[in-house]
Symmetry: C2
Subunit: 333 residues, 2 copies
């Protein structure tokens, strides 16, 4: 039986506020480069007052993946909470305009927390340092998970960042139960090393018991399996727990492990304008390949191509026609 | 005596919603290419629902000019009305972050009209078709004009689009009177041919009596002086009324007329990504050159360089360092 959705993503709904930044600005403001750090509303207001002119674009890690998946024509839905405000409307519009289903768990306009936003500082090397005010997306609860929607998914895709929030774990548990109970599978992304440190036990338990596909970059998988010793050992440790392990390694491409086999897929050389969304689009394209029945190496190639597209311009959503790029690379007809 | 401001701009405060569009989409939606058309809130909501994923960036014609002027280090202020909402905060931030003074005439958050926005459809040729919901910016009144601020300006810069609004003419009259009464001068941009058609008499009266510097592109100056016969005759007719006439002609550069003299300044060849803001940045850079005492030809060169920068990327605000570009071209040391 064909399921209604090939993929349902659950993540933190965010609007990105993109601003160019010098290395000195990061240092002055104590912002660690290349990672996501959480800030509260006052800090967000203060930092926003300090940054230069900016551009607003929908973001959110899993939302970027879902947007890419839907852009490729996949049947996808997204769950993540926004407020009934202008930024919430922008977020919802951009997902729907890409073809994804988004039935907003909408917080009323008088809710104190606003739609989440991430002040993304892009340094001249294209690296991004994210300063995230979660806003209402922190408060996604089990009540916001539609069990029937999730049960109608071949895959659910869980964003690691979503562990930050009081009822996040329960919301994930409900989604996993509904999905697996209906024969679906679970993919997760570790999101970032500091997120792993904040929620190590929850990640570990989920990887052992629930996850069928793990996405992580090198730093993340090394952080998660830090007792393993090195990168290769961390990959093997992950593969001992999870059916499919996919680890990205920036310009060195990606590694895919399943059933004791391992593939390495080289990256597409690209001039980095803004690294925001690279891992997200990789995951979105990889999952699309998987849902469409391509072999794992082809999925890895699609992921690499999508990542190279999104880092070639400002913003974390795909702009070029990914299917056309897949054709150019001879992966699809 | 040095005045507090070299330039105070008065315009429609807008946030641009930039979306890529096919030619077919414009045709289907009856959108005329390359111009600005006014839409109401319902039409804005409907059209937004139809366009693809978009990017939000501060815009507004005179605001773009003022942002460019402030970016160059000029002492500038901007007057234009936003609502106390998220888009209003974005607009205010981006002007201030560029160094311009913006003491927002702020409409309360429960005002029905929202912060103005323009859905800018960018076709593959880089041309932009603007669909503008004016929102609260339509309701700028004489009460929003601070006579002391305007009197403290060497130049005021009036945006033609600002004639659309019930008390616009009175607000302009107050600003002109305060500025000229204190020995300042008045620059205006005609904005677009349809805007001229809507407010021909008001433009004509102002050009005859008040304006010291006129900015227009070829189509606009031909529309304004349509009885003159052709482009050259229109330029002469304008120069008979206005001390300095500056007409831009896209890839053919600009023409500057003063005291019976005429200069032609060739454009900088550029690949057009998004034509939004070309005229605005031209005016901002030209006015900066003028305020800093450069000759008119140098001002024209600065205008052309600024225009070529802004059309080389998405969005109507300058991104590169304009002064560095002026140095590269040998205009400043």
């Amino acid at each position: 039986m064909t399921k209604e959705f090939q993929l349902v993503g659950i993540g933190n709904a965010m609007v990105d506020v993109l601003a160019h930044s010098s290395e000195a600005f990061l240092a002055e403001h104590g912002i660690e480069k290349g990672i996501m750090q959480l800030i509260d509303k006052d800090q967000a207001v203060h930092l926003y007052g300090e940054v230069g002119p900016s551009t607003e674009m929908s973001g959110g890690s899993a939302a970027n993946s879902i947007a890419g998946f839907a852009h490729l024509g996949g049947r996808a839905a997204y769950v993540g909470k926004v407020r009934d405000d202008q930024l919430g409307a922008i977020f919802a519009h951009d997902l729907r305009a890409q073809g994804a289903v988004y039935e907003t768990p909408l917080a009323p306009a008088d809710t104190e927390a606003e739609t989440g936003r991430s002040i993304v500082l892009v340094t001249p090397d294209g690296e991004r340092s994210m300063n995230t005010y979660l806003g209402v997306t922190e408060h996604l609860t089990p009540g916001d998970i539609d069990a029937a929607q999730v049960a109608g998914a071949e895959w659910i895709f869980l964003e690691g960042y979503r562990f930050d929030g009081p009822e996040s774990h329960d919301a994930f548990a409900k989604a996993i139960s509904a999905c697996k109970g209906a024969g679906g599978r679970v993919a997760i992304t570790l999101s970032d090393p500091f997120c792993i440190d904040r929620h190590r036990d929850a990640f570990a338990e989920m990887l052992k018991n629930d996850v069928d596909l793990l996405f992580a970059n090198r730093a993340e998988i090394e952080a998660m399996y830090k007792d393993a010793g090195d990168f290769d050992a961390a990959l093997e440790a992950a593969a001992a727990e999870v059916a499919i392990v996919v680890a990205t390694e920036s310009e060195h491409g990606c590694h895919v492990l399943r059933n004791g086999k391992r593939w390495h897929v080289p990256a597409i050389p690209t001039k980095v304008v803004d690294a925001t969304g690279a891992g997200d689009l990789f995951a979105g394209a990889f999952l699309w390949g998987l849902a469409e029945g391509f072999d794992l190496e082809a999925c890895g190639r699609m992921g690499n191509i999508a990542a190279s597209e999104v880092i070639s311009h400002l913003g974390a959503r795909v702009e070029a026609d990914l299917k056309a790029l897949f054709r150019t690379h001879g992966i699809i007809a």
